[in-house]
């Protein structure tokens, strides 16, 4: 496991390189519009379109290049922890023999004498001083060796590994989500029941309401739905944005809403000079008798009327910004009126033709049944992501606020005492602190080789 390629996979160098590459690619991904058709890139990013499409940068975060970097990062995290964990466990269960094999004697003779005194005469006092500061202390003393070992915040030793474990679980969860998550969009009008594909239950929309703020902007959408299984209502719940319905392994989310304009109810006001004014109510697509031998037909309705270059009418948006109805009126078998009538602009007669002078048709009212768009989402990776996140945050807190600390003073009889101070966070300051506590003059610390 410690040969060349494995060592490289576990190395910090690889990790840092990957972080930098992932940063660069992520930035590129926010600069190139994602998920467009190839035509879009050829038109707008002419010089780069070949490169973008060849590297799959039109969906960069799912491109083989990006995914292999993430996979390498996963391996890097895995091998890094794998290689470092044994040493950490060894440190946790360190034996007297190893303690006596590391560390250095202090350079100053005065410090050596001080340490020897701590070990021989003042050992209890030393242990008490460290215990008071929250250390766990282990002492051994017999004829051929004397050992003092004080350690604090032992979980802190594993903080980085916990962070890395959390990250690995998050990446694994993300991978599972990418491969196995499913999303199905379900559009329902009030009263409509729809079977959920791949499931044994159906969903019925009982009531759909849109609430508005006084200024007219949308405050909330509420879909009261029933879950039906074998014709029986199992559950009834109001789904709102931020308040999904969970049933079986699916979540149902309020995603959008709309109006079914093909089923618009129209109120038409028809006035004929000399005859009078009448209101005719009919559905788009219907024909209706309106008295006086008149037949009214409404072949079409457009919520946001506009005309394209070829002169065809179309809807600019699904919002009722410029509602218009196509109306045809027959009198005794002859067409007397045909054309578009506008709710907001009753004066526009450009798109109308009438054979009866003075005839006016107004679109007085329109209403379409609203529908609610719910999204059913199944994501088997999510729970892994949550557990990974918990470990990640826990690991960060432990790493930063419970840093592992260790102080060793050991002596084999007849040899100079060995002294070693170990911590990863700000070792110089810790060394100064311990030197002061032990009453040493202080000097450059010796490197701890236990981990390597």
């Amino acid at each position: 496991m410690t040969s060349g390629p494995w060592k490289f996979l576990a190395s910090l160098k690889l990790g840092l390189g990957l972080l930098i590459l992932i940063i660069i690619l992520s930035i590129i991904g926010t600069l190139i519009p994602q998920g467009q058709a190839p035509e879009f890139y050829r038109q707008h990013l002419r010089d780069f379109s070949g490169l973008i499409l060849a590297l799959d940068f039109d969906h960069l975060y799912r491109s083989p290049l990006f995914l292999s970097l993430i996979f390498l990062l996963l391996l890097n995290l895995l091998f890094c922890s794998w290689l470092r964990l044994p040493a950490k466990f060894r440190r946790l269960r360190i034996r007297d023999e190893s303690l006596l094999a590391s560390g250095q004697p202090p350079a100053e003779r005065r410090d050596r004498a001080r340490l020897e005194r701590w070990l021989s005469e003042d050992l209890l006092q030393l242990a008490a001083a460290f215990k008071k500061k929250g250390y766990r202390v282990r002492t051994t003393g017999n004829e051929d060796k004397k050992i003092f070992l004080a350690r604090k915040s032992r979980p802190g030793l594993f903080g980085p590994e916990l962070v890395h474990l959390g990250l690995m679980i998050i990446i694994a969860g993300g991978l599972i989500s990418a491969l196995f998550s499913q999303r199905i969009s379900v559009a329902l009008t009030e009263g409509q029941t729809e079977k959920i594909p791949g499931q044994t239950f159906s969903l019925r929309l009982d009531r759909f309401t849109t609430e508005y703020y006084p200024d007219g902007s949308v405050k909330d959408w509420k879909s009261l739905v029933s879950v039906l299984e074998n014709g029986q209502v199992k559950l009834q719940k109001t789904i709102e944005v931020n308040h999904p319905l969970k049933y079986r392994r699916l979540g149902f989310f309020q995603m959008s809403y709309g109006q079914d304009w093909d089923r618009t109810e129209l109120g038409l006001e028809i006035s004929l000079p000399g005859v009078g004014t009448r209101i005719v109510n009919l559905k788009a697509g219907e024909t209706r008798e309106a008295g006086d031998n008149l037949m009214v037909k409404a072949p079409g309705f457009i919520p946001d009327f506009a005309v394209d270059e070829a002169g065809r009418a179309f809807s600019r948006s699904p919002e009722p910004a410029n509602p218009a109805a196509m109306v045809e009126i027959m009198a005794g078998g002859n067409q007397v009126f045909v054309g578009w009538v506008f709710s907001r602009h009753p004066e526009i007669s450009r798109y109308q033709r009438s054979t009866l002078p003075g005839m006016k048709v107004n679109l007085k009212s329109f209403s379409a049944p609203p529908f609610s768009v719910l999204e059913a989402a199944y994501d088997p990776g999510a729970s892994l992501v949550w557990s990974g996140s918990l470990l990640l945050v826990l690991g960060l807190l432990i790493s930063f606020y419970l840093p592992y600390r260790e102080v060793r003073i050991c002596q084999r009889t007849g040899q100079p005492p060995l002294y070693l101070v170990y911590t990863r966070k700000n070792p110089a300051a810790f060394r100064r602190e311990v030197d002061q506590l032990l009453g040493l003059t202080g000097q450059k610390g010796s490197k701890d080789k236990t981990d390597e």
Partner: protein
């Protein structure tokens, strides 16, 4: 007093805090430093009152528009500065931090940011708005402290090798690390973890590679780089400071840039 008068008063007091802080450079003794500290505290109280007033009047979290968010970020920075001043004695770094606070306050009160209340769109009506935004901005405030310390580090001349300069640079380096040590976990929790939880509740997916999401990940990766090069590779000083500066620029872009230059699901303000 209404919200804006309180904010103006806080601004004036922050200005005085900074000025007394700079005066401390030329005086011996601790008097100026103490005056500056208590002034800062007074400004913080007024600023808090302004935020509370707005929250009570609008009935929603005080960070739903750009004006509110910038004001809240300034408030978080003040909190970070006060905490760090108490714990680590910022001394000559403090007035530069107040300069950043003042810049944010000026931006918040500029006419470019409308002061009206916006009724919350359905996606924002959640208690996760409180958790996600407040913890993220608090984290970013500490990262701002690291940014200022790193910038000062890079600007402190090292050619002279004066011992006073050396000591100051060492202090700045350590200050930057300590600020990242607070800011990074907060940012991880607030921006990424709480963000993912909220996204999964509102949209049914915890991650969608939305530009705001990607940029907060980029910010996070920069600080991961900072910590690894520092704690494992033993980088200190110049190189560390440079990464901390880049990381905060990424955080700034996540906060402001994404809203104005890139479009996505987070374009609320």
């Amino acid at each position: 007093m209404n919200e804006f008068s309180l904010l103006l008063l806080a601004f004036i007091i922050y200005l005085l805090t900074m000025l007394t802080g700079f005066l401390f450079f030329f005086r011996t003794g601790n008097r100026m430093r103490r005056i500056s500290y208590y002034l800062g505290l007074a400004g913080f109280v007024l600023h808090s009152l302004s935020l509370v007033r707005r929250t009570v009047e609008s009935g929603q979290a005080p960070f739903t528009t750009m004006y509110e968010s910038v004001s809240f970020l300034a408030w978080s920075c003040v909190l970070a500065v006060i905490i760090f001043d108490r714990k680590f004695r910022l001394e000559k770094t403090a007035p530069y931090l107040w300069l950043v606070v003042l810049a944010l306050m000026a931006l918040a009160s500029s006419p470019a940011l409308p002061k009206t209340y916006n009724p919350l769109v359905p996606a924002l009506q959640s208690y996760w708005l409180w958790l996600h935004v407040s913890v993220t901005l608090l984290g970013e405030a500490f990262l701002a402290v690291a940014f200022v310390a790193s910038l000062l580090y890079l600007l402190t001349p090292d050619k002279s090798h004066r011992p006073a300069n050396e000591a100051r640079r060492e202090k700045l380096d350590l200050l930057a690390y300590r600020a990242v040590a607070v800011g990074f976990p907060l940012f991880t929790l607030g921006a990424l973890v709480f963000g993912m939880i909220w996204a999964s509740r509102a949209w049914g997916r915890y991650w969608g590679w939305d530009p705001k999401e990607v940029w907060s990940l980029i910010t996070w990766l920069f600080y991961a780089l900072y910590l690894h090069t520092r704690l494992v590779h033993g980088w200190k000083g110049r190189k560390s400071a440079l990464i901390a500066v880049l990381g905060f620029l990424a955080a700034l872009f996540t906060f402001f840039g994404v809203n104005y230059f890139l479009s996505g699901l987070h374009s609320y303000v």
